[in-house]
Each structure stands twice: as structure tokens, then as C-alpha cells.
């Protein structure tokens, strides 16, 4: 049993988002980078499955050298080895092609990643890889159990969930509560230093989309406070000013 987990290297969820170079580049100044929160759930579930099924677990990131500490953290959490595709992740299609190429070489039984990255929120890489590999892609998955070659999953839908069954191999985009996030322990951190981290070059440089410019939303005006003993005033404002009632 071989498991691949694809992770993103993204700004911490509390980061203030700013841009530089005439709004064409993300401003990394003072920003802490983390494993994507959804990817972190995927990784946590993969570590549990590795222990349960005696599987091997590879972690993959498409990114420049700066993402290696993020990959090392994934190794500390429990992955056996890591692969970094040495390129800026230009767009979803570009990333999907890199993952597909590595998956074709290594024949993973299960590929997990977050439902979406929290920077570009595309949520399309798992589906693209599934289509290119000709295997099922399921997202967003909030429960995943393996019994033999059958995978039992729960997928979140609007207003609830649906339960699915499929066979391996498959690819899933994960979200909570598929597993609890794992914090690396000291032994994990020590062993991560010597686990293999292989750097490969991208296979296909083509893209379908390109970001030209970033924009921040307009600043919010000051809040209009209403006295707690005069809630009728709030109703009036909502009805007459905001016109939402």
C-alpha cells in the first residue's frame, strides 16, 4: 500500500494579506508559512492509515526551495519521504500535471490532499489529477476508511453529507473532521532531518491561466452602533438604509 499526500505551503490563516511590486506579487514580509490547513487534515489521516495498513507515505509539494521546511514538518509528522518539484506553482493545471507525472511513476494506491489551498482557493487540483490518471476523485471528504480495497467515505454536501464507496486507487480532497491535526514530537523532528527529500524538475511548463494583478477589498467604514435598548433602530436601519429586509 502506497500513499501520497500533496501539501501546499501557504500563509498562516492569521496573516494580513498584502501585495508588492504594483500589486503583482504577494508580500511575504512578516508572514509565517504553514502546511495548508486542509492538507494538514489529509496528512493526519494518511499517518493514521499508514500505521493501520503498514503503508508507505510520501509527501509532495510543488514549490521553490523555500518550501522545504514545510516538507520537513510533514516528515516530522510521519511521512517516510518527501518529493519537491522545483518550481513556483504557476497555476492549478501546472501543479496537477506535476503530481500526475509523479503518480504515474510510483503507482500510489491512495492520493490525498486538502480540499483546496487557502491562498488561491481553487480546489481543482485533485479533480484534474483524477481525470488525468483516469481514477475517481472525491471532494470534499470528511471521513475515509479503508477495508480491503474498498474505500468508504463521507463527502460534505450543502446541508449535510453523502456516504460513498469506491475502490482503490483513488484521489481525495480532504477537510475536517477526517482526522485531528498532528503536532510533531521531538523524535519525529529529529528523524525528519535524515529522511529523504528528493528534488525533481517540473515535467511540463504549460499553464491555462495567469494572474495579472492582485487587489485588496475596499476598506470597511466604521461600525454604526445601536443602543441595546433600542433594537427598533437597528430594524429601521436594515430596512431603510441597507434595504435588506
Amino acid at each position: 500500500m502506497k500513499i501520497l499526500v500533496c501539501i501546499t505551503h501557504v500563509p498562516d490563516t492569521t496573516s494580513k494579506i498584502q501585495f508588492t511590486d504594483n500589486n503583482t506579487k504577494f508580500d511575504k514580509n512578516g508572514v509565517q508559512f504553514i502546511i495548508g490547513p486542509y492538507d494538514d487534515y489529509a496528512l493526519a489521516r494518511a499517518v493514521e492509515l499508514k500505521e493501520q495498513l503498514n503503508a508507505t507515505l510520501t509527501v509532495l509539494n510543488v514549490g521553490e526551495a523555500e518550501t522545504e521546511p514545510t516538507l520537513r514538518k510533514a516528515l516530522a509528522i510521519g511521512a517516510d519521504d518527501a518529493i519537491r518539484v522545483n518550481s513556483f506553482p504557476k497555476d492549478s493545471l501546472f501543479v496537477a500535471k506535476q503530481i500526475t507525472a509523479i503518480a504515474k511513476e510510483n503507482n500510489y494506491d491512495l492520493i490525498l490532499m486538502g480540499r483546496e489551498s487557502i491562498d488561491f482557493n481553487g480546489g481543482m487540483v485533485h479533480g484534474m489529477v483524477g481525470e488525468m490518471l483516469g481514477i475517481p476523485s472525491i471532494s470534499p471528504v470528511m471521513k475515509l476508511e479503508i477495508e480491503g480495497t474498498t474505500v468508504k467515505m463521507a463527502r460534505e454536501i450543502e446541508g449535510g453529507k453523502e456516504y460513498l464507496e469506491a475502490s482503490l486507487p483513488l484521489i481525495a480532497g480532504c477537510q475536517e473532521p477526517i482526522a485531528e491535526w498532528k503536532i510533531p514530537n521531538m523524535r519525529g523532528i529529529m528523524s525528519a532531518r535524515t529522511k529523504p527529500l528528493n528534488v525533481v524538475e517540473p515535467v511540463d511548463e504549460s499553464t491555462a491561466t495567469e494572474v495579472m494583478q492582485f487587489q485588496l477589498p475596499p476598506a470597511k467604514g466604521a461600525v454604526k452602533l445601536v443602543d441595546k435598548d433600542n433594537v427598533e433602530e437597528l430594524v429601521k436601519l436594515l430596512k431603510n438604509d441597507a434595504k435588506v429586509l
Binding site: I138, A166, T209, V211, F214, A242, V244, L245
Partner: protein, 322 residues
């Protein structure tokens, strides 16, 4: 040349977000001369209901009533939509962002060699390349994105355009697509879904509660307020983490992202991760007894006060204006 819109339905009705996607397709066609706007619907649904896609802007609806397509099996839907897309000679696919739509669109991007942009918030600018504005960093920023491919897929966020209501009912053409059995290999064994409720991602008004509500037994007053407003109810992450409310009601960075016209937050302090899920709301009302709660900085209107006093009064005041 035409624009195909993939529409979803639930409980016998076209989803409102899908009707918005149809209106987006119509506005796109009007803006760039994109040709006919054709909607495609899959699975069992009354054709009288499907005609309503015409009112939102479609000139024709293509329907495969195959009951195997009623449940949204991702690969089967992707196969079916690709077939219809090619048959009608479309060059753009529009759909509403949703759990199923996102999953289907990603596979279609490969099948159709189409550039896919998600979280689209406005119509494209086509005077110099095909530029689409999309929401990124979970609503904290926007990116002007160029699509370089001939075929394009736009996954549209709620409220990107106004829903059209002045079109005429359109004809429904029944088709029977041949879908490879392998695409049904993933089987949906059951669903567990709230029925008859206004669904959070589609609601125009949302009332959410946080830890300030003190316990799940106090949700009744929020539900009363929501009922008076015709709103869906949501909650903060801590509330779903401790199990007071189900996960599908969790609004925030790692939960549901909402874009209602009015968001009412009760007893929620306003952590940056929660704000990320609501920052696309048009108006935000915050009710919190702590005047220092950071949520007030993101709000349009606020009341500093105890939810247990304010909420019943607010519900009564809303009743009074009816």
C-alpha cells in the same frame, strides 16, 4: 458558439445558485456576444421546473432524466456535461460554485482542455485578453486572472451578478446520453441531509451563533430570529468543534464560506478565521456583549449587549414591522 450552464437541482427545484449561474451566462453572452445560453440538467426533475431556467436567462434546457444521474456521481456528471458541451459546440461552461460543481468542473477542465477559474465575482473583461476577477485568500483579496485557452470554465461565486427574473420559460430538450458504466464506479450509498431548511451556502440572510450562546440549548432563540428573517443558521468553528452544532453549519476559513446580503453574528468574537468565511457578505450586523470584540471592526451595524436580552427583542421588533 454558445455558453453552456451546468445547473443543479435539489428537492425538485433548481438551486438558486444555479439560476444565478444561468443569469451570469446570459449577462456574459450579452456583454461579449457569446451566443446562445444553454442550460444542462441531469437526473430526475420535473421539466416544468426546468423551464424556469429560461426566466433566469437560458434560451434552451437540455435534460437527461436518467435516474442514475439524480445522485451527483462526480465522474458520471463530468462525462455527461462534456458530451453536451461538445454536442452544442460551446466554448464556455458556467456553473455555480458548490460541493458537486467544484468537483465536476475540475475533471471537465481536463476533458475539455479548458482554462478553469473558480470563485469568479464579476463578468470578464475582454478588451485586452480574457480577464476574470476572482476571490482569493479566502475573500481577503482578489486576483485579475487571464485565461489563455480557447475553452473556458467559470465557477461563479454567489452574488457575482443579479438574478434575472424577466426572461421567458424556455423549451426543454430531452436527451439520453450514453455514459460509460465505469463512471458510476463510485457509488453513493446514502445521504444525510437537512430537508426543508434554507441551506447556508445559498441563503440571502444568515444568522450565526458563537460560544457567547453558552450552549446548544440556547439555539432556539437564534432559530426564531432566523425564521423571522427568512435566514439560514450558521455557527463559529468552536461551536461545531464542541459539537453544539453540526459541521456543515460551521462558517469560516475551513468551513462554509457564505456571501449573503445580510450576516448577523451573535456572540462571535470575530477571529480572523471566522471573518474569512463571511467577508463577502454585503452587510454585517454584530451583537456581542464585549465592546472590544474584533468583529465590530468588520461590521456595518452593531449592538453591544447580552444576546439573551437583545435577540428576543430583535425578533419581536422584526415581527412588529410585518
Amino acid at each position: 458558439m454558445s455558453i453552456l450552464v451546468y445547473i443543479e437541482h435539489a428537492e425538485g427545484a433548481i438551486k438558486k445558485t444555479s439560476l444565478e449561474a444561468v443569469s451570469y451566462g446570459k449577462a456574459l453572452s450579452d456583454k461579449i456576444g457569446g451566443g446562445d445560453v444553454i442550460a444542462v440538467a441531469l437526473g430526475a426533475i420535473d421539466s416544468g421546473e426546468l423551464k424556469k431556467a429560461g426566466i433566469a436567462g437560458a434560451s434552451k434546457i437540455i435534460h437527461d432524466a436518467n435516474d442514475k444521474l439524480t445522485a451527483g456521481v462526480i465522474q458520471a456528471h463530468a462525462d455527461a456535461v462534456a458530451q453536451v458541451y461538445n454536442q452544442v459546440g460551446a466554448n464556455t461552461l458556467v456553473l455555480a460554485k458548490s460541493s458537486l460543481g467544484d468537483a465536476v468542473a475540475a475533471r471537465l477542465a481536463i476533458k475539455l482542455n479548458a482554462g478553469l477559474v473558480s470563485n469568479v465575482v464579476d463578468l470578464p473583461e475582454t478588451s485586452d485578453g480574457y480577464k476574470v476577477k476572482r476571490s482569493i485568500y479566502t475573500g481577503k483579496a482578489f486576483a485579475e486572472t487571464v485565461i489563455n485557452t480557447d475553452h473556458k470554465i467559470l465557477a461563479v461565486k454567489k452574488n457575482a451578478v443579479d438574478l434575472l427574473t424577466d426572461g421567458a420559460e424556455a423549451d426543454v430538450e430531452s436527451v439520453s446520453l450514453s455514459i460509460d458504466e465505469a463512471n458510476f464506479a463510485t457509488s453513493i450509498t446514502s445521504t444525510d441531509k437537512a430537508t426543508g431548511e434554507i441551506l447556508l451556502p445559498e441563503a440571502d440572510i444568515v444568522v450565526s451563533g458563537g460560544r457567547g450562546m453558552k450552549g446548544p440549548e440556547n439555539w432556539g432563540m437564534l432559530e426564531d430570529l432566523a425564521k423571522e428573517l427568512g435566514a439560514a443558521t450558521g455557527c463559529s468553528k468552536p461551536v461545531s468543534d464542541i459539537g453544539w452544532r453540526p459541521h456543515h453549519e460551521h462558517v469560516g476559513q475551513t468551513g462554509v464560506k457564505v456571501a449573503p446580503t445580510l450576516y448577523v453574528a451573535v456572540g462571535i468574537s470575530g477571529a480572523i478565521q471566522h471573518l474569512a468565511g463571511v467577508n463577502s457578505s454585503k452587510y454585517i450586523v454584530v451583537i456581542n456583549k464585549d465592546p472590544e470584540a474584533p468583529f465590530f471592526k468588520a461590521a456595518d451595524y452593531g449592538i453591544v449587549g447580552d444576546a439573551f436580552e437583545v435577540i428576543p427583542k430583535l425578533t419581536e421588533a422584526l415581527k412588529a414591522i410585518k
